[in-house]
Amino acid sequence: MKIAVCIKRVPDSETRVKIASDGKSLDEAGVKFILNPYDEFAVEEALRRKEQAGAGEVVVVALGPAAAQETIRTALAMGADRGVLLQVDRIPADGLEAAKALAAELKGGGYDLILFGKMAIDDYNHQVGPMVAELLDLPCVTTVAHLEIAGARGTAEREVEGGVEVVEFTLPAVLTTDKGLNEPRYPALKGIMAAKKKPLDTKPTTVGQGGLEILALMPPPERKDGKIVGEGAAAVPELVRLLREEAKVL
């Protein structure tokens, strides 16, 4: 099993968002960056598939700034074999441009599986995985929460509104992973030490601007101050009255 996992360096989910002076981007001062949580499921799944097959290689690929080397080392510490950083100054807002750069790197790599997290928790673009699949003309299943593979065929389950879709596909394939697929391992000290010696290839990369132009990054509208209706069950009739007469939602 030769598996590629595409990962992204993102601000920690606890980050308090401060908008930079350009009014278009995040002020990164003091922000802690992590491996995108959905990508952890992809890395874990790749490691398990390789372990089950008893042989193979897990290659981690990231598009990002030089600092994303650290993110790649995290995946290497979990157990991936080697990393590739497609180094850019800034990740474009247009997911198709990111997909093109990744597809160019992955093309002809002989991968049985190419895994992505279902989305990145910073831009919420939710698109790069299936775009890479289209660019490479590979079958693709997104938001996979359960996976079985036998030979060159796989069955995946993905959550849809009010149910679960059971999807059959052929390998090689692109899959994007959802929470629930597995429980990602924590890098052990041994893994962290080993990761330092694993190969990490940095390739300066040029990405196009694409067709999405950022006009502004804005704080969300403040919610107007609410009120405490009262204490305990005695306050319920007044709450229901307010929901009906003031908020008009009942």
């Binding site: 939710h126 009010g162 804005m218 069950a233 306050a235």
Partner: protein, 335 residues
């Protein structure tokens, strides 16, 4: 061309509610661009009553593209057929739903057409002839305003945000068999290609998804144990089929509730009309997932819990007393 295409969703031959929202969003773009709105539905056969219904929401024409394999979502067949329809129609914009299917389908169509995609948008507009969108990023902690410089401009709309507006106008219905090439040379066939949806295992009959329900009742650690979610299910049930039960990350991570129910940064972002947070303290990553609800109610025993800062109405108290009382009152309303 300044036409807008609305890509609809059906399940079991019936249009999904989110399709009305997609037509509404497409109409808004169509009006701003000065163009017509076509609504496209892919199905195995006729989709009942859709033309009149969609006409009323703003579609000028409703096109049903039929194929034996289009009864269920067929990722490769759908994306190929839609991309070809968009090319042939020369549309200026294409609007999808940011549903489980739409979020899977739209990127495929975008890559096929070689144009960018703005997913999960909460607002659309036109400025100096270009389509603009607003989309929540960083789990709703900020909003990104983007201009789509390409044509067609592809967008998917967050469910529950574009309130369907009725217009007194009927659409014209059109139906065509989809000519989708078979396999060979990649891309797959209509349905028998490399990716096939074998079945859709339905959750409990009539269960609403938290991302699409008009009312969401969510529970957190304050419920103390998984079995106690029964009181939230009873409250949700009292709304007569319009409410879903959600959960905080803490209780999903503890295995009390399925991940499908999680509201927050690593779960779902919801925008219901009414969100009732029960026994949820309101961690920043939970607030990120529900702060766009129209009205928020919080029930918590800790008067200093952060959830009260975003709630429109709060009750400080023991949820095991407050929630059953609320259920009774709601039942009275619904007779």
């Amino acid at each position: 061309m300044s036409g807008v295409l609305a890509v609809l969703e059906q399940r079991d031959g019936a249009l999904r509610k989110v399709s009305h929202e997609v037509v509404t969003g497409a109409r808004r773009l169509g009006d701003a661009l000065g163009g017509t709105v076509d609504a496209l539905v892919l199905a195995a056969g006729a989709v009942g009553g859709s033309a009149d219904q969609l006409g009323a929401f703003g579609a000028d024409k409703v096109i049903t593209l039929t194929h034996a394999a289009f009864g269920r979502y067929a990722p490769e067949g759908y994306s190929r057929a839609i991309a070809e329809h968009v090319r042939a129609g020369g549309y200026r914009a294409v609007v999808f739903a940011a549903s489980a299917t739409g979020k899977d389908l739209a990127p495929r169509v975008a890559a096929r057409l070689g144009v960018p995609l703005a997913q999960d948008v909460t607002d659309v507009g036109v400025e100096s002839g270009a389509v603009t969108v607003v989309r929540p990023v960083y789990a709703g902690k900020a909003l990104l305003k983007l201009k789509l410089a390409a044509s067609p401009a592809l967008v998917s709309l967050r469910p529950n945000v574009f309130t369907p507006v009725q217009r007194p106008k009927a659409g014209v219905a059109e139906s065509a068999a989809a000519a989708v090439p078979g396999g060979g040379g990649g891309g797959g066939g209509g349905g028998g290609g490399r990716v096939t949806v074998r079945e859709v295992k339905a959750a409990q009959a009539g269960a609403l998804d938290v991302a699409e329900a008009p009312i969401v009742v969510s529970g957190g650690r304050g419920l103390k144990e998984p079995a106690n979610f029964k009181i939230l299910e009873e409250l949700a049930g009292a709304f007569g089929g319009t409410a879903a039960v959600g959960a905080s990350r803490a209780v999903v991570d503890a295995g009390w509730r399925p991940h499908a129910d999680q509201v927050g940064q690593t779960g779902k972002t919801v925008s219901p009309t009414l969100y009732i947070a029960v026994g949820i303290s309101g961690a920043i990553q939970h607030l990120a997932g529900m702060r766009t609800a129209k009205v928020i109610v919080a029930i918590n025993k800790d008067k200093d819990a952060p959830i009260f800062k975003v709630a429109d109405y709060g009750i400080v108290g023991d949820l095991f007393e407050v929630v059953p009382k609320l259920t009774d009152e709601i039942r009275k309303l619904h007779g």
